[in-house]
Symmetry: C2
Subunit: 140 residues, 2 copies
Amino acid sequence: MANNIQFSIAVHILAGLACGCDQEGVTSGRLAQSVNTSPSFVRRTLSKLSKAGLVETTTGKTGACWLAKNAKNISLLDVYKAVDAPKAFAIHSYSEQKECFVSCHIKTALEKALAKTQKAMEASLAEISLAQIVSDVKKK
Amino acid sequence: MANNIQFSIAVHILAGLACGCDQEGVTSGRLAQSVNTSPSFVRRTLSKLSKAGLVETTTGKTGACWLAKNAKNISLLDVYKAVDAPKAFAIHSYSEQKECFVSCHIKTALEKALAKTQKAMEASLAEISLAQIVSDVKKK
DNA sequence: TTATTTGTTACTAATTTAGTAACAATAAAG
DNA sequence: CTTTATTGTTACTAAATTAGTAACAAATAA
C-alpha cells in the first residue's frame, strides 16, 4: 500500500499504545477495534513503526506491542518518516521541450523551492510530540 | 479534476507567462507546448489562476493570457491557494468506537496539531515569489 | 500439539488523479 | 456578415494510486 492517511492512522495507533501502556502490551486486534479496521491493516502500519524503532513487539501466543520510547520522545516527524508519508508536493514529470528554456529548467527550480517548504513542514512536525497528542486526547 | 501536480503545473504556466511577457500575451496552445500537454489541460489550470486574479485573459480571435501582476508580487502561496491544492495531511475518517476515548478524540487532537504544520508550510510558500523561480530558471 | 499472535505478501475494490474531446461564447479580421 | 482562432467549461475515459481484505508462514506460550 502507499500512504496519505497512513500517517494519521499511525498516530492513532501510537496514541492507543500510549494509553494502553498500563496493560503492558496491546494486540493488533485491540488496536483495530479502536481504529475501526482489520487487524491486518493495523499490523502493516505497526510493522513500519516497529522497524523505525518506535514500537516493540513480540510474536507467538502472547504476542503484543508497546511503545519503545516514552511518548515525550516520539515526535510526529519520527512517525512521518517511519510510515514514509508522501512529500507535501509532487512535481510533474512531463518530458522537456528542448526549444523552451522554461520547460527545461522549471523542475530544478521548483525542486529547490519546494525543498525549503518540505523542510519547514518537517521542522513543524518535529516540534509536536506524541505526548502532546495523548494529552489532548485525554483532556477532552 | 482534483489536484497534486496541478500546483507544479500552475507554477510552470506562470513562469512561462513571466518569460513570454515581452510578447505581450501568450496562448494556451503555446503554453501547452512548454508543459508538453494539451491546450485544454492548460486552460483548466489557467482558468483557476485567472479567477484568483493572478493572470488576465482575453477571448476571441486574438485571445491570450498574461500575468496580472509583477512576478515579484506573486507568491507560491498565492498559487497554492489559487489551484486549491490538497492539504499536507489527510485525517482518516473511520467511524468512532464509542467505548474507546482514543478513538473518539484522536481526530480533533490531530486536527489541532496538523493545523500548525499546515500553517508552517503555507508560511514557507508565502516567502517564495514567482520572480525567484523565474530567476532560477533563467540562471541555468 | 494446540491456540493465538505477529509479519508479510498477494489480491481486489474503491477512489482519486490524469488527460482528452467537444463545444458554446467571444472577438478580431477579412 | 462570415470566417477564423481563441478562451472557458463540461463531460468523459483511462490510468494510477490508495484503501482494505484475505491468507498463511513463523513464532511461542500453554
